[in-house]
Symmetry: D3
Subunit: 325 residues, 6 copies
């Protein structure tokens, strides 16, 4: 790879970290039409959308605030010593163009973008946006049968519908994905579930399909290691997506989100769980539901990009591993 | 009217103004199905909607924050000495049920609500919600030919479309209303217009239809009195709607709104302009675009309900005048 | 009970959760004069008062913000599967009318309200207000000899006086209640106590009376289960009140309170402790010291109503159990 | 006066203005028991009280935030070129000890403090606290018959009572003072009055006593100069107090206050009106109702101390004038 | 110019205005090393620096927040109908690399950057940063004798030194520039000056050099038109720089700045004054002292970019005029 | 010591805790020139400096906000029952005069101040300011060979340089101190280290010198007790400094800091670790990096002063122990 150095973040020695136009991780900005696009291995993409939000909106502003805070991220993982930006070519591929006033139009646009990405063989690290965006992302990149998923969240997002049967909201993406055959429910693990319930139908339906739902109490009672060992076993070495809803984390650490539930896991626990994804066959990841108007301080976005960095290290390691026979 | 006292706000002597469940102006809460609904003369209604918002959402939370702050409003107008709640029967009719994820469904629901209101002969004082809601409100209450409008705003809301031709957003309601024949463009006056322009097509189209657009500079150069005299002449004594977008007011005084434009008129000027609507044939009014996530302090909502009180005094006076031969 | 369905919260399918006038949990609003009042089994009441606050005021605004956030609470408990609003008749009984400028007048008003409540056989779930309100609540509902109390808090609230001997503040209610014979100190357990001390006299006095004071360090060293087992044993199956001061929870999770102390328990620990109250003979509960001006985001109130829901499930279960022979 | 230089503020050259313990204007801190107290000519005093507040509390925190922001004030008036700290001896006399839980006790404490001040011949520049504090201040310093007052405010504070007849709140001080014979209503001018009214009884009562009430509309219609000329004529050269409620200023410029009313005068207008008090026989002044929890940014307090500096220049000039024959 | 369309902002129809990586005005990002750099006519540059700040820091974060808010700016001026991005080639040239810990090193870096810019014949529109940055900007672009300046500000920035004689702070740039011979004091006009004074030496020195200082009172007493006519006459048709300190505007409209002074001019007045610069021989402009930590809402930055757009229209018109014989 | 009572904090009974001029812990304010200075045993000092901050500034405002919040601290430690203000003479020695625009000048000023303090035999409890201030503090008080250090932080602060080799920033103090021979690296323990890395050179260098670096994961895996036992062994009974960077604590509990890293230890853990310093030979301590503009609520400062109180109890115990044979 002759041009690797072009994919390195702007150095803090050249320009202080608070300076400059904020791309994800200070990476180069490219478009899918770029002539060098085939060199990109991991694409960081924003989907600035909250049209699926049933309660408090604002996640459409997530990608921009995440980019802003991401400039404080450095180069090397403190535990694994992975340097993702040296290991593989990463680039900021900008935001997908959405239509804030039309759900179906937006779903089509997002799917089309990720289909192109798939064609380019780029692994997506997506920043939401509300959780509905995981559906068109999966539609775009899953083309050869259903995939598994490790899903960190306070909610199952397996609801049937809202507002009189409307089936496309941020509470329904994974029910749709299972029904559409792009998620294999028997290889879906949900971690951190909690909060009061409407009627529990989402959970019943999920359990019937074979989804493994791990409530927050079980997570603490068994311990992270035990739970993650099970999660790894469930998804096994088959293609697996990772979806991280920021509201999985306790709202004291991530208040900027539309549907908080008290009693979540901590950021350190989040980091340690993500680190245990190492070696799995991850085909893409997303970090969703950061809502800047609900936390103008940027603290929630800082948590978000810190998790994105953890995910990037996992993804870079996957790619690196694939190259080595 | 024997039951008039039932329509009086909870007194601050009985319950401090910060206490109690916040209905609009501490008025009784009623529904359109209520057996006493025929006694209501002015209905205060919330339309908690921001699905037409092209940029920064949050106006769906407007009605609740407006209700909260409205409990600080007292009973009597300091200049006109009108006591609207004594003069006519006012009630809080709750929020219209909207579908946050579907524009057309919501437009239908809102129109249906206002058609019922019209049947009950209740004059609506609506709290938004983004500005798109004026369209279904007008659809609901205008049944006998186009009406005039006095419109306070930073923007014309006469745009053609967004995001590739989408015609139902908070920037398009009055173009739609003119095209649908429910607004008579020759009796529409827009006051406070300013801000950078896409291409000016909205203004050109409006001028061609006969809309009178009064920019902020003209307002100051001629003075409020002169402008309002002209405005009154334009709408004359025919049925007229009043639409007040909070972003007409300078963003230093009303920061909690999605599309602020610097250089607006002041709250005192707003009060004085509304007071000059006295005696016109007003058929309803709205106050829109208060976005609580953009001003958690409630200061913008406080401006909003203070203007709503001014409008209520005008509406009460209209009704009172109609009763007297 | 023929009219049970009238006591159900407004459904999110009928009206989005951010919409509508915010009563507690979207329950019907009733007054003690209501003809149906005898059907109510649990009353949710606000006491909007902070006149007993010795440092940072604002708790008078607590009930309104708690109501606002409570509309995000759903219907069913995720662990116990209790559905309190189906199980028993709950209603929002509004705010007690207080006098912000007179302590003794307010104490009388609150006591009078709760005496009426007692007469109606309604179990109160009270939202403060500062902690002084627990005193008049207890005065109102305890009529047959002293009761026990499980008290979650950072402070003992057993102080003697402030500002030269003034004995009615939010730091003194339980000393007053013990002296007045409405609390049995030998059946009082305080959990979460911490923070710097004036001189420790409150603790010494409490210990002399037989109060069981469990500091935060003991809570963690022994574990929640062990501590709660002891607490249950202390109050036994006799009538017991539950008082939950939001400042028992760590200030990172509940910053909106007047007298925070670092190093508190977490929300999940709070939930788990409250869940262990199941089956006790609870006669009422309060959640106090949420101060909205110190957390305009509503995050603290969200914690507060989440705990109120936990308490409601316990109370509903008590009532349900009493009905069954 | 040999020790004048001891009364100079800490210089920004010696210590940056953001550094150091914040006394008012960086002046020396003294107590009434200090041996040098007789050298003090103007005392800056805080009265950290909001027990008279009928709606949103927080003004008890006013003095501290005002001190904090006051360290940005420099030495010399830009128009009059008065250097108050060189001209007369100014000192920070600390906060009066109040009892947050007892109104009458607090009134007594404040009056006692100001009586001592009067004995020391110190002119008070008081920082509130809510507006009730003006009553005990006046009680303390007015000993030889009623005085006049120039009063900047949105409200008359001439109300009869609240909450069932309670007569000591921040809405009643001047009615009490007139009734007690310490204010001469015929020499009282109120400027900036506005906002919705309960019933107007306060205004009627005031007018009957001879109070001159200048609404905001009259202020603008006639112009500042004309109004201030009248105000000066009304108080003439007899002893006059100045009371400045921060809510007289528009809430966009001074949002941190408990009872805002839209449509107020600007800070520049406030400065220009205060400058026109020059040469009057001012016996003391206060600046009240800054409520830090309602504006944590300190912007409102910055407005407050900027007005306090204007008042200090007027007071220093009075003292200077009295010394010169 | 064949490649003009490359310099157009991303359209809101292609990508909603809240989406995408925020460059200034959504313009293309280029560096001085870019091969097309000679096509750029106006460069928008950030100088993320607050090392000259004597009181409250944060202006180093200004450029990023200004870029963020600038994406809400549209294409066409509402009064002059100038479309700057169509008229001339504008680009975002990124941030100058500064050294947050060394003043002199930073001054050198900034000057070097602007010297290159000058070589490329690009007119700079600079976004600060604190006001010290105007000095190295002027050093970089003024090479043929002193220039004039129209300077909007609350402060003269003509101070001699701080903290024991330190001469390079945000209060001293224009004294340094005059002494260095890059500003002609007789062609310097300062508008909006106000606030308390240390000792007035800055003003005396400025007047001695011939600087025209127009205080806020004079601005209002004479009116904007009269003052701007004088200002235009003073700078005449010789090369003139425009420096706009956001603190010239009233702090209610621009609170996010380190040294606010109450009683400033309004945003509309600012717009109208800038519009009167049309036709002058402007060689560059800056907008400084926006401090995001002091206004996380972005409202101040929104004012800032709105003024930058006004300045861009003036600059584009200058360039356009120069091309036409 | 006859005058011990002069060193007691103002009592909350004499003046409510929200009232009065805020000195540290309401202690008397003294200067090093004071005639009673030899009676002071522990000095609380502010160093209002952020000129070494490489990213987000604001720590210069730390001392003032810490003083403000410190007035809520009471007198007695809840576990050890130490009453530091009774045990030894504590005083607020004000802020060191810094030069916000010059690093080296400031380093000299701070060192000079602490050399004087050393001469007076006063043990310093310093409140920052950014972490660079620990360097001049150590330079001032370490005169007899290198000392040990227990260092709580998210970062090692052992970096080599920034911005092209600049060696004096808040990321470099302890490398400088080791190189200068005032810290003995073999007796330095760092606890809580985490966050992404530039390249890990700081850690490698530290390990080579013999610094013991305990990452957050090790802290949790081994438990606090085990780690603190090791830390005590490493510093042994030789002179040891304690440096507490607030960013060691999780950012959800201490958000007001310039370089947060997710996944930190809790406040209760911080308290328990500091309590285990009892009996060590502590020669001084600091608490740094509280940045008020990043947390206007004061919550972070409240955490800071709560830790300062813990440290004061340790320091008072050291002094007390030295007096007793």
């Amino acid at each position: 790879m002759t041009s690797k150095r072009n994919f390195e973040p702007v150095s803090g020695n050249d320009l202080p970290r608070f300076a400059g136009i904020p791309s994800f991780m200070r990476l180069p900005v490219m478009s899918l039409d770029d002539s060098d696009i085939d060199q990109v291995q991991i694409g960081l993409i924003g989907v600035p959308w909250d049209g699926g939000t049933t309660n408090r909106p604002g996640a459409r502003h997530g990608p921009r605030q995440l980019r802003d805070l991401s400039t404080m991220i450095r180069l090397k993982h403190p535990i694994s010593h992975i340097e993702p930006f040296s290991l593989v070519n990463c680039a900021d591929l900008g935001d997908v163009s959405v239509n804030p006033a039309d759900v179906q139009d937006t779903l089509s646009r997002v799917t089309a973008f990720y289909e192109k990405l798939k064609t380019c063989n780029i692994i997506p690290m997506t920043a939401g946006g509300d959780h509905l965006i995981s559906l068109p992302v999966l539609r775009g990149i899953v083309k050869n049968g259903p995939v598994g998923m490790i899903h960190f969240d306070a909610h199952t997002d397996l609801y049937k519908g809202y507002f009189g049967g409307f089936e496309y909201t941020h509470g329904t993406p994974f029910r749709r994905a299972i029904i559409e055959g792009i998620l294999d429910p028997k290889r879906v693990v949900q971690i951190g579930i909690r909060g009061t319930m409407y009627d529990g139908e989402d959970i019943e339906w999920g359990l019937e399909q074979g989804v493994r739902i791990i409530r927050i109490e079980e997570l603490y009672d068994r311990g992270l290691d035990d739970v993650m060992t099970e999660a790894r076993a469930i998804v096994s070495n088959q293609p697996t997506y990772v979806s991280f809803d920021i509201d999985g984390i306790d709202p004291s650490q991530a208040p900027g989100t539309g549907t908080p539930e008290i009693g979540g896991f901590t950021t350190l626990e989040a980091q340690r769980m993500v680190r245990q994804l190492k070696g799995l066959n991850i085909i893409g990841a997303d970090l969703v539901e950061v809502s800047p108007p609900l936390d103008q301080s940027g603290n929630t976005a800082w948590v978000g990009v810190s998790i994105i960095f953890e995910l990037l290290c996992i993804l870079a390691d996957v790619i690196q591993g694939q190259k080595q026979p």
